[in-house]
Amino acid sequence: MEDDLLTGIKAGVVAGRLGGMGDMTRAALDTGVPAADIMSLGLIEAMSIVGEKFEKKEYFVPEVLVSARAMHESMDVLRPLLEASGVEPLARVTMGTVKGDLHDIGKDIVSIVLTGAGFEVQSLGADVPSEKFVEAAAGGAGVVGMSSLLTTTRPRMAEVIRLLEERGLRDGVKVIIGGAAVTEGFANEIGADGYGADAAQAVRLVKSLLGIQ
């Protein structure tokens, strides 16, 4: 019964079944499945499968977004319980698109795939003032990820790195960048820790920077 419920939650997220995930999650909790197990064996495993399907081009952005929405229906039920129990994620990653740039989807896909890899992702959204990235680093984010799709906004990335240095926060955080306006060369030029061309690369990059696996 417990296994069936966990399998159902996992399958529901992979298939992007919206509307019933909260009830399924509550039913699993009622039968005694710990919230942390639903999180790790249900949701994270499901998003890991979604990430693999995305990399293999079986899933595309719409399918990934719908799975993520299904995951969030379940997460909304779990979050208060997980916070109370103090379960630690692999690391916290803060993601955002830099100030002036309104493109959301690319960095959201990276966030979703990172979630599937076991990271806690804090999304700052798009058009994010540089100061917000710095606050996230000060608040304990292990990785700051920035996206830019317009070359006119990419100087903001260098600005964030400069602000991190000025506040003495640079050594405690890994800075990664991505988006159509940036390149590996630009990452090196501004002193970022790495560049990811797509979501799969971004996950590999974060893991290698944090020495995971």
Binding site: L18, P62, V66, T151, T152, T153, V182, T183
Partner: protein, 328 residues
């Protein structure tokens, strides 16, 4: 006449998408060039005089149609403008929208005026842009919401894309009548779709838009940014005169997909090579493309996407010089 029959035969055709470098070279702001016809024209004249490309495209602006439909637009970054919010999130709001009259809606008249001013005055063809139906629908409804609705509310998604195609048809018709020879249909947001979803939502509306451009006497070209390799099959069925493709794709696969009557334009890396590189790196990158595809009569050397305003003009000179390179 199809695009392939309009290409020059005495040299290799080269068509960079260089509106924003033109704005920079003229010492102007993007907002001025996209709100004042005389400034837009000044940038175009500068580009024509310096480069004489085989097609001169106007300055790219993916907000024109959305703004004509009443959405708010920002010019904050002095690069391409952006739509600020995406309020058309249900069928009732969508149904309340009317196809705008291009002669009197938003900044559409500016592009018509610039096209009319340039008509007959260029050494090559005049290129205009028109937003693709899926991309406009994403501006209206929000890209993530529209993506999700292709699965959860396909009727809404289909209606939004169909309506957007009608907006495109009205605007593209006006652009061709004003003087545009080529209309590049910009469909960047569709890159995120699976081939099946593209077929379901985009293929027919794009084909309808392309057919309208052709019936007016213009050449329809489909441009999708990013790695669109998985979509080459359905893109080839849209009846376009050409595909303009971005730097992550291998053009060889595009040539296989389209056949010899369709032009393939591309695909020097706009940021990594054209903006960050020097003339030597431009010669190297375009030399590789010419070595691979230079003998194909349906190949046009171009940039993978719109060039950033920070692109050095000498790099564009180096690209244009490939017109006369060996094998031409």
């Amino acid at each position: 006449m199809k695009l392939i029959d309009r290409l020059p035969t005495d040299h290799r055709p080269v068509v960079p998408l260089m509106g924003y470098p033109g704005v920079t070279a003229a010492g102007r702001k993007a907002k001025a060039a996209l709100t004042e016809p005389v400034t837009h024209l000044e940038c175009m004249t500068l580009l024509e005089n310096r480069f004489r490309p085989d097609a001169l495209f106007m300055i790219m602006d993916l907000t024109v149609e959305a703004e004509a439909l009443g959405l708010d637009v920002t010019f904050e970054t002095d690069g391409p403008p952006s739509v600020v919010s995406h309020p058309i999130d249900d069928a009732a709001k969508l149904a309340a929208l009317k196809v705008p009259d291009p002669r009197r809606s938003g900044r559409m008249p500016l592009f018509l005026e610039v096209a009319a001013s340039l008509k007959g005055k260029l050494s090559g063809m005049l290129g205009a842009y028109c937003i693709g139906p899926f991309t406009l629908a994403a501006e209206l409804a929000g890209p993530e919401d529209l993506a999700i609705k292709t699965i959860t509310d396909p009727d809404f998604a289909k209606s939004a894309v169909d309506f957007s195609a009608e907006v495109g048809r009205a605007y593209a018709t006006a652009l061709v009548r004003a003087g545009a020879d080529v209309v590049a249909i910009l469909e960047p947001t569709a890159v995120m779709l699976s081939p099946a979803t593209f077929e379901q939502f985009c293929a027919e509306p794009l084909a309808r838009l392309g057919a309208t451009v052709r019936s007016e006497g213009g050449c329809p070209v489909l441009h999708i940014c990013g790695d669109s390799t998985h979509l080459f099959g359905p893109m080839a069925t849209c009846g376009m005169d050409g595909l303009s493709l971005d730097h992550p794709v291998d053009l060889a696969k595009a040539f296989e997909a389209v056949g010899p009557g369709t032009v393939v334009i591309g695909n020097v890396d706009p940021v990594g090579v054209m903006m960050e590189g020097d003339p030597q790196s431009v010669r190297k990158a375009s030399g590789i493309l010419i070595e691979r595809f230079g003998d194909l009569p349906n190949y046009v050397l171009g940039t993978g996407c719109d060039l950033p305003g920070e692109t050095p003009l000498e790099n564009i000179d180096a690209l244009m010089a490939m017109r006369e390179a060996a094998g031409a």
